[in-house]
Amino acid sequence: MGETVTFWVLAVVSVGAALGMVFNRKAVYSALMLGGVMLCLAVMYAVQDAPFLAAVQIIVYTGAVMMLFLFVLMLVGVDSSDSLVETLKGQRFWAVIAGVGFATLVILAVGNAVFTPAAGLATATAQGGNVRSVALLIFTKYVFAFEITSALLITAALGAMVLAHRERLTEKATQKVLSRARFRGERPSPLPGPGTYATNNAIDMPALLPDGSVAEDSVNRYIARYDVEHDHLPTDPKLAEAIQHKAEEESK
């Protein structure tokens, strides 16, 4: 009974999260949804007498792999989102047909199968529990495959380094060169910080210059765009105009 309840709750959540992952425009949300699915699955592993896998699922997937995803998302651009227009003719239609058809077929196959009551893993894990039994198998029967996996992991790490590495084409700029470039450029000084007002000292409030004009550079353009999109503009029209200006600059 307890397992049934657990299953249904987790099943609904995981299917919902999976659908959310597929249909959410923003990649970060997709990643979070996927994390949810993985956590659900981890619990299911635990319920199904696989505590070791449950731990590995959480550590490797939700821990390492998902972090890697998020990291790359940040690298590529957190705000990059898909457009909703499908460019390939008939791709969506056929994708849904094929996906639904495949799911139907698999469910049909499972429904057609005759299930005996689950054998359970009590006998298989009799010698010192699940982790010990899995370890016994991995280090005896599957030790060769396991060793090969280590080679695979090393290769993958090396491959990732090779792929991500960029050759330096010019000399690394020294501090001297950098400072010279800064002084030759338009602005030798650092960018101005955000404005601090009596009623509001948020990071999206532009500062004022000594002559009373608005310093547009004091607001991050991403934040400016966010403000414009979410209608968080300050009440002061001068400041609002500056933020809008900055947001337009960003969207160019």
């Binding site: 390939l88 791709q91 056929w94 994708a95 996906g99 495949f102 077929l105 698999v106 196959a109 057609n112």
Partner: protein, 635 residues
């Protein structure tokens, strides 16, 4: 009728045991002359003559030893070596028939060699010529001496090769090259018949040896025997220039004048007669359809050759037509069974002499007339080359069957036997003899009598003695040989151990009805020729002539027939094949390639470069696979 005697293995240590020297010596000569090449230029012709003469000596010695044996032992087989294990051994059969041929080949062959020393003295390739002559003699001897059909076939092909090389000896002349090619190809047709005949012999009897065939031939059905006989006849027609494979012989006169002509008149073309006579005991039972076919072919060819001979102005081609005609007589005789064999072989011998005489005489005339061959440009030559004239006249009288000369006995023998056994063919042969009288007289009158019609630069003179002495030798043979062979059945009795003999021996009648009719017709023909060409003036340019003349001039339209029946359809077939190859086979291949190319060109559009399209097809495939597995009930 009496059958041939059994063939025995030769065990005594006489000359017959080394009769292979007959073949080996000329073959060695040919090999030396061809392999050593120009080194032998100075003495090559002497080696050739020596080898041929040595072969002749061996033949004479073997002949003497054979004659010394009792009649029942006059067929001796000499085993040489195992040739094709289980099929044929290389061995020689020395019996009256083969030794007669060997004597003729080596004897006349040696005379050709000697004559050629003088005739070819100005030719820079004389050494090569003698190599070919030696090769010819060796091959011809292998043909007649082999004791089985395989050896015979090897000799047969060797003769064909030597003939090809000799006809095309002056290969720089396009006409000679074409004539050689023609002879070779026409002979191929005949060889094909011989070869298929041999196949049938092997599959029916399992042996090629003459010694074994006699016992086994009764086991086969009559149809098989007839088939073999007709196939062998086809082979004989090819080599002996009989209808319908006669067309190569006239063109073969392109070879070096007297020598090649002698081979194609006196020796080589008799191979077909030899084949028929040799196979006679097995496959040409008297009265059988195939024997009748031989006789019919002979009769048809003797008429055709005679008619062609009437219209030719080229003296060599006239003689070539005459050769066809005379071999037709031999074939007619050979088709009559043992009764005719002796006359056929006898005519072969006498013809070998008088035709050699006539050809050498013609060569002598040409020699004196700057190699002019057109008889219309001769005339009145008897005063200028008396010796040639005399010997030519002897040959002429012999060939038309003037009483008591060689041709008289042998030809009348054939005619009489034919009238007796096959009356229609016999009377046709009588008619042919009359035509022979006409065309040979025409030749003599145009050449030696009448007005001079020479070219301006002609200075006729008698030939040197190296050329006239063979003429005299041959003339003597032309006069006496026939009577010696035929009277009291000498040749028939000599040959009978090899070919059998009829129940009652024929008797030569000097005053039989066919014989008198022949003489009468020959006289009429000769008189007609005198009226047209002796008394009347012969125009230097050939008159247009009637339809019949044109018919004969063009070799009875034989070439035209071959062209329209075989060459043109063959060319059309080739063109159709080329068309089919270009459009059909190439079309299929190219079309297939184009089809595949076009399909691929359209199909490659599937490769859009979009990973998601590929993924979609993978998923659809996986779904279909799952569905299929579900349907067959595996999951």
């Amino acid at each position: 009728m009496e059958s041939p005697v059994e063939i025995a293995q030769y065990t005594a240590g006489g000359v017959i045991g080394v009769s292979w020297l007959m073949i080996a010596l000329p073959l060695l000569g040919a090999a030396v002359l061809l392999v050593l090449g120009r080194i032998t230029d100075r003495w090559g012709h002497l080696l050739g003559v020596a080898m041929s003469l040595a072969s002749f000596v061996v033949a004479v010695l073997a002949f003497l030893e054979l004659v010394g044996l009792p009649e029942a032992q006059r067929r001796q087989a000499v085993f040489l070596y195992e040739f094709i294990p289980g099929m044929a051994d290389m061995g020689l059969l020395i019996d009256p028939l083969s030794i007669s041929f060997a004597l003729l080949i080596t004897g006349v062959g040696s005379l050709i060699h000697i004559y050629s020393v003088g005739y070819m003295s100005h030719d820079s390739d004389r050494r090569r010529f003698f190599a070919y002559l030696n090769l010819f003699v060796a091959a011809m001897l292998l043909l007649v001496l082999a004791d089985n059909y395989v050896g015979l076939f090897i000799g047969w092909e060797g003769v064909g090769l030597a003939s090809y090389l000799l006809i095309g000896f002056w290969q720089f002349k396009p006409s000679a090259a074409v004539a050689a090619k023609k002879a070779f190809i026409v002979n191929r047709v005949g060889d094909f018949g011989l070869l298929v005949g041999m196949f049938v012999i092997w599959s029916s009897f399992g042996t090629f040896a003459f010694a074994d065939l006699g016992a086994k031939v009764g086991t086969a059905s009559q149809g098989t025997i007839t088939a073999i006989g007709l196939l062998l006849l086809l082979g004989a027609c090819g080599k002996s220039a009989q209808l319908p494979l006669q067309s190569w012989l006239l063109d073969a006169m392109e070879g070096p004048t007297p020598v090649s002509a002698l081979i194609h008149a006196a020796t080589m073309v008799t191979a077909g007669v030899y084949l028929v006579v040799r196979s006679g005991a097995f496959f040409f039972e008297p009265g059988s359809p195939q024997a009748l076919a031989v006789a019919i072919v002979g009769a048809a060819t003797l008429l055709a050759g005679a008619i062609i001979g009437c219209a030719k102005d080229d003296i060599k081609k006239g003689l070539a037509g005459s050769t066809m005609s005379q071999i037709g007589y031999m074939m007619l005789g050979a088709g009559l069974g043992p009764a005719g064999y002796a006359f056929a072989i006898g005519h072969l011998f006498t013809h070998g002499f008088f035709k050699a005489d006539l050809f050498l005489g013609a060569g002598s005339v040409m020699h004196g007339m700057n190699d002019e061959v057109d008889m219309r440009k001769y005339g009145g030559l008897r005063k200028y080359m008396p010796l040639t004239f005399a010997t030519f006249m002897v040959g002429y009288l012999a060939i038309i069957g003037f009483p008591l000369l060689s041709g008289y006995f042998t030809k009348d023998g054939i005619i009489e036997t034919a009238v007796h056994l096959q009356p229609v063919l016999g009377w046709l042969a009588v008619l042919g003899a009359g035509i022979t009288g006409f065309y040979m007289s025409r030749m003599v009158f145009m050449t030696f009598f009448g007005e001079k019609r020479w070219a301006d630069d002609a200075h006729p003179h008698e030939s040197p003695s190296v050329m006239t002495i063979p003429l005299i030798v041959l003339s003597i043979g032309s006069v006496f040989l026939g009577g010696y062979l035929i009277l009291s059945n000498r040749l028939l009795l000599f040959l009978s151990p090899a070919v059998g003999r009829p129940e009652e021996l024929p008797e030569f009648h000097f005053a039989s009805v066919p014989g008198l009719a022949t003489l009468g017709l020959v006289a009429v023909g000769a008189g007609f020729a005198w009226m047209r060409y002796g008394r009347a003036e012969v125009p230097v340019l050939a008159p247009r002539g009637s339809f019949v003349t044109a018919f004969a001039r063009r070799d009875l339209y034989g070439d035209a027939l071959n062209e329209s029946l075989f060459m043109r359809p063959g060319q059309w077939l080739t063109r159709i094949a080329v068309f089919l190859d270009n459009r059909g086979i190439d079309g299929v291949v190219n079309g297939l390639a184009a089809g595949i190319g076009g399909t691929s060109g359209r199909l490659r559009r599937v490769q859009t470069g979009f990973a998601r399209t590929y993924a979609l097809s993978i998923l659809i495939g996986a779904a279909l696979l799952t569905g299929a597995l579900l349907l067959v009930g595996n999951i």
